[in-house]
Amino acid sequence: MWSYQFMQHAFEAGTMIAVIAGVTGYFVVLRRSAFTAHAFSEMGFAGAAGAVLLAGGLLGENAPIVGLLLGSTTGGLAIAALARRATNRDTQVGIVLAFTLGLGLLFIRLYPAYATEAYSILFGQILGVSINQVLLTLVASVVILSTVAVVYRPLLFASLDEDVAEAKGMPILFLGTVFMLLVAVSVSFAVQVTGVLLIFSLMVTPAATAQYLARRPQRAIIISVAISLLATWVGLFVAFYTIYPVSFFITAIVFALYLLVRLLHQRTTWGRASSVKVGGEGVDKRNG
């Protein structure tokens, strides 16, 4: 398997993308912005289709990723400007999303080889990444991870308790915009692995699973990264020996893990809830 260069590139890019998706995905889940993340990928779709159509000759194989980045970051800035606060963004996101998706459809229809191009953007093309794209992914990963390291605590606090963060004089609008851009760039690269339509499998499901397993953000982020890494590696490995697509295996693995953890979590919290209730009554009696 390792003798094939395309498999090496797939593993290299897939590993980096799993890490950034696992990290930024945690903030997506914490801020209840899953819909926004999905919207970014579809805005990226319009961008990618537009870039392939209008600048395909100029940009070559990099046209889709350049278009993805342009589409999703423009969308991110537009949403950050339209809806100042994190809550109730759904309507604005939906409005921008519907328009860009329609635009994407037009671009892809105008492109001669539209079926193959559309398919790879919609469902991923990790087995087709070149060394240039691997290097580009590396640059993006370094940028994303260093940005997260810098804004980590303010972003975490603003995501948990926006009102108090605002009163403390923290730059809520700036942090919201940084978050949007982080998600936009992460989504643009994650689309290479999972495609536009399956973006949740790396940007949302691993982090949502991790949230059940850890009550401290740092641990949850580590678990989230571990899950997306595991899914990407196993997905690539299994896909190599079968005829089925990588994206399918990744979505199946993260979904199975989510179901398993959710079930276990429910069983343990039910057990814990009843014991806590008894303990709580004891405490109350002492206070009274």
């Binding site: 605590r153 606090f157 009163a167």
Partner: protein, 273 residues
């Protein structure tokens, strides 16, 4: 020289934490209330009451520097309010935390201290010790490691109080901490706030719907209704004469033998007796 500088400090500064003169709040096209005058000193527990949408939270927003007054002056420690004043702790009015939020309470309190710091230091534990001390102070150690999403209303209010106390503020602004609490939890939380405020010399303003459970604890009352603000000791402010004089319409303040108060004439809903 330094002795002279100390001597020059006006006597009022240390005792007057918050002063307002003819303070008027509102927006360009609408005045919410006008001409509020008050002075709050160290360690005072002040209760802000009044009907819904009378502008109680507006008063807090002005003190926090989140909203500019449209008239008059307000000074906090001798200076105009500014956003992010570390001497003010704030507990906003809020709805229940999402039950899916599986982050432990301790983390929220830690972030209230270290959340303003840029950069990433996974090995720093200063904020952890301070957060544990704050949780201890509000008697919430038993829920320190439980997820925010599963805490009860009373437990959450303790956590929010710890979140506000962790940076050692000198002023505490509590926006309706008693809503959604049953009577016993209300009493518990009031005793806790009273203890914390007295023992630390904090000046606390607390917005509430019903003043009666608070009467044994409070030093001053701020009554916000119909565009005006009355401030002072409850025995001076909450009388038929003073409210009638302030509002220019007939206002009745009824008291029952237990000292409970009901204000008739300015609010549609009272029934506090």
């Amino acid at each position: 020289m330094s002795l002279t500088v100390h001597g020059l400090r006006p006597a009022g500064v240390e005792s007057d934490f918050i002063t307002a003169e003819n303070l008027t709040a509102g927006y360009r096209d609408k005045i919410v209330w006008r001409d509020a005058n008050f002075t709050f000193g160290r360690g005072e527990l002040v209760v802000v009451i009044g009907p819904n949408a009378a502008g109680k939270t507006t008063l807090f927003r002005i003190m926090l520097g989140l909203q500019q007054p449209i008239g008059g002056t307000i000074k906090i420690f001798g200076a105009p309010p500014r956003r992010g004043n570390p001497k003010i702790g704030y507990v906003p009015q809020r709805h229940v935390i999402d039950s899916e939020t599986n982050i432990e309470a301790l983390e929220l309190v830690r972030l209230a201290l270290s959340g303003r710091q840029w950069g990433f230091n996974p090995f720093s534990h200063n904020d952890r010790d301070a957060a544990l001390a704050a949780l201890e102070a509000v008697d919430a150690m038993d829920v320190a490691h439980r997820p925010l999403g599963v805490l009860s209303g009373g437990e959450l209010q303790r956590i929010f109080l710890a979140e506000a106390l962790v940076s050692n503020p000198e002023i505490l602004l509590l926006d309706e901490p008693l809503s959604n609490l049953d009577m016993r939890r209300e009493t518990d939380l009031l005793h806790l706030v009273d203890d914390v405020v007295r023992s630390r010399g904090i000046t606390a303003l607390l917005i509430a719907h019903n003043i009666n459970p608070l009467l044994p604890h409070l030093d001053k009352v701020v009554y916000v209704a119909s565009g005006k603000v009355a401030t002072g000791k409850p025995s001076e402010v909450l009388t038929s004469e003073s409210l009638t004089a302030l509002y220019g319409i007939q206002v009745e303040v009824l008291r029952d033998p237990h000292g409970n108060v009901a204000i008739i004439g300015l609010e549609e809903h009272h029934g506090d007796v």
